[in-house]
């Protein structure tokens, strides 16, 4: 591709799934209106949802899912050795995600509940950055394809690659939504990173923080607000723990 004196190389990219639902990867094939243009940016070397061809000469690796088995650790480390840029792709990769709920129970109890009578090799769930260096995180359950497109365009053109720093509330207000706190619910919008266009709250579903904390969140003020409105601190804890995205904040005063 050549434009106005600049030559853009296609991104040699691979996508890998670990402990997850593969929903984030599937988003790559979503948003049909720009799908052909999007795929034009990419030289897909390895991505089992889109192509049966598999090569190992990729520069960018998208990692979807969290890590919950020893063989996943080894596979992840091998990908890290190959990739120039490793991207934690989706909430499970960035924070551990819903899978982390398992960590609240003894492992043998979880196995007995889900796979009764079977031998299952498993370990506590970890996010990608616990194991390897992560160059870029793209959070979301699932990721927002529009944002992924923008970030890939920026990678291809050498533009700045950044996530929004403001919380979900900011985008929610632009949709003229009624604040869910006003409707008596606890919503993590004020502490969660925006960029999702407030899709859940626009559908009147409280934010569960899948995109993790926004920059400089004010957790004491947020907990205070829940208390002042006499909402349930248990409900707050449950929501904050849902995606394991607020590690280090979750025990604050609540």
């Amino acid at each position: 591709m050549k434009h106005w004196g600049f030559t853009f190389e296609k991104l040699k990219i691979a996508s890998f799934d670990f402990t997850c639902c593969e929903g984030c990867q599937l988003q790559l094939a979503n948003r049909e209106s720009t799908l052909i243009d999007f795929l034009e940016l990419l030289d897909i070397r390895n991505f089992r949802e889109l192509s049966s061809e598999q090569f190992d000469d990729y520069d960018i690796a998208l990692i979807e899912g969290s890590i919950s088995r020893q063989d996943e650790v080894e596979r992840l480390q091998a990908i890290r050795r190959q990739a120039k840029t490793l991207i934690a792709f989706g909430t499970c990769a960035c924070f551990g995600g819903v899978n982390s709920l398992k960590n609240k129970f003894p492992l043998n109890e979880s196995v007995a509940e889900v796979y009764p009578g079977m031998q299952v090799e498993t370990m506590a769930v970890r996010k990608i950055s616990d194991l390897v260096k992560v160059d870029l995180s793209i959070p979301g359950c699932p990721v927002n394809k529009e944002e992924v497109e923008r970030l890939m365009v920026n990678l291809a053109t050498g533009s700045q690659v950044t996530l929004p720093k403001h919380p979900v509330c900011f985008e929610c207000k632009a949709q003229l939504n009624t604040c869910l706190f006003e409707l008596g619910e606890i919503c993590l919008g004020p502490i969660t990173r925006g960029g999702c266009n407030a899709v859940c709250t626009t559908g009147k579903t409280p934010c569960l923080g899948c995109r993790g904390p926004s920059e400089e969140i004010n957790m004491p003020a947020f907990v205070e607000l829940v208390k002042e409105r006499e909402l349930s601190l248990d409900d707050l804890q449950e929501k904050i723990a849902f995606y394991n995205a607020f590690e280090g904040f979750s025990n604050h005063e609540a």
Binding site: H166, A174, C179, L225
Partner: protein
């Protein structure tokens, strides 16, 4: 200004015709909050039945009809070794019905900032000129303080303003367009009794305010209180969410983003309304943030709102609608913050000064 009186039933006929034939927006109930109060927003309306004429105030202002939350400023098309910039200032004609006096005051303030400065905004102008504004008076909510800001009455900035005088509306007609529309409908010149009812209505409204903010000499008090601990105190409560600026009828600050199209054959420059309470508002290239603390960011919002900038001749731009106060989850509101600032110095007066002659 021309004054007329119209029966409410005839006014309904008038609005039905107007809303049917034009893209129109008016107050509609969208929710009932957990305390049982109705929540309103300006939304599309196609007949007078859609309009909640008895509404109180909308949660968000009418600002975004003139300053969209996100707006494309220009498109760039790349061809061979050349590029082409395309700009359009289109504003489709719309009708806005039900704006309060403070909402219209807010538009007049935006006019001052965006049209009367050195660099008038053609984007804003196109929308402002193409909007037919019908104002309606109302009894203030307990926390409205527009009277303190002198924005509870209005004499300019609208096409038509309706004062509720019982069975009729007392119409203030401020444009030939409104006058010509109304020719098709049954109106009459006001008689003495109508004028009395209008004065009475205005007095009732004026006497109904429950919230007062003392804004005398506020710009200079803000200057004096630049280092006041009050900013940190309220800043500690701030969630940095930007809600206050989003719902505000006069906050016009924005950020600009340029991005390539996915096919790399073009690009877009977009303007996005932003808020000075957001953490990266004063962040510059290289990552330095001039206002890293909550209290500093909050302070500058109050400075812009209540002290003013050179663009609008250092006039306060707050109209006293208290939308920010109502929407703030942390309970930050202009009345309490400003009173706190005043108390800060007044307490120092009573502690230090022993000059009873002053009283």
């Amino acid at each position: 200004m021309i004054y007329k009186v119209i029966a409410k039933s005839e006014f309904k006929r008038f609005t039905d015709a107007l809303l049917r034939d034009n893209t129109s927006f008016g107050p509609r109930q969208v929710d009932t909050d957990s305390r049982g109060k109705a929540v309103y927003q300006f939304l599309p309306v196609t007949s007078s039945d859609d309009v909640a004429f008895d509404y109180t105030a909308t949660a968000s202002s009418a600002k975004h009809f003139f300053l969209p939350f996100r707006e494309e400023l220009s498109r760039f098309v790349f061809q061979d070794q050349e590029w082409d910039q395309q700009i359009s200032y289109e504003g489709n004609p719309i009708v806005l019905i039900g704006l309060r006096a403070c909402d219209i005051s807010a538009l007049n303030i935006l006019d001052d900032v965006l049209l009367k400065g050195h660099f008038p905004s053609p984007y804003y102008l196109a929308k402002r000129k193409n909007t037919f504004v019908i104002g309606m008076d109302h009894l203030p909510l307990p926390d409205c303080f527009c009277k303190s800001m002198n924005h509870h009455t209005i004499s300019t900035g609208f096409n038509l303003f309706c004062s509720d005088i019982g069975e009729d509306y007392y119409l203030s007609i401020n444009s030939s367009k409104a006058f010509n529309f109304l020719k098709e409908f049954d109106t009459r010149d006001p008689i003495d009794d109508d004028n009395c009812r209008l004065v009475e209505r205005r007095k009732i409204i004026s006497d109904s305010f429950r919230s007062e903010v003392d804004v005398t000499a506020l710009p200079s008090i803000l200057d004096i209180e630049f280092d006041s601990p009050v900013w940190e105190k309220w800043g500690n409560k701030c969630l940095n969410c930007g809600t206050c600026a989003m719902v505000c009828p006069t906050c016009y600050c924005y950020s600009v983003e340029e991005s390539f199209d996915t096919n790399l054959k073009g690009a877009t420059r977009q303007k996005k309304l932003y808020s000075c309470n957001l953490v990266d508002f004063a962040e510059v290239a290289g990552g330095h943030n001039f206002r890293p603390k909550n209290g500093d960011r909050l302070k500058y919002r109050y400075y812009h709102q209540h002290r003013g900038f050179a663009e609008n001749a250092n006039q306060q731009i707050c109209v006293g609608c208290n939308r920010c106060g109502r929407a703030c989850l942390a309970g930050i509101n202009p009345k309490d913050v400003i009173n706190d600032l005043r108390m800060d110095k007044e307490s120092c007066l009573t502690n230090i000064s022993s000059s009873p002659d002053r009283i």
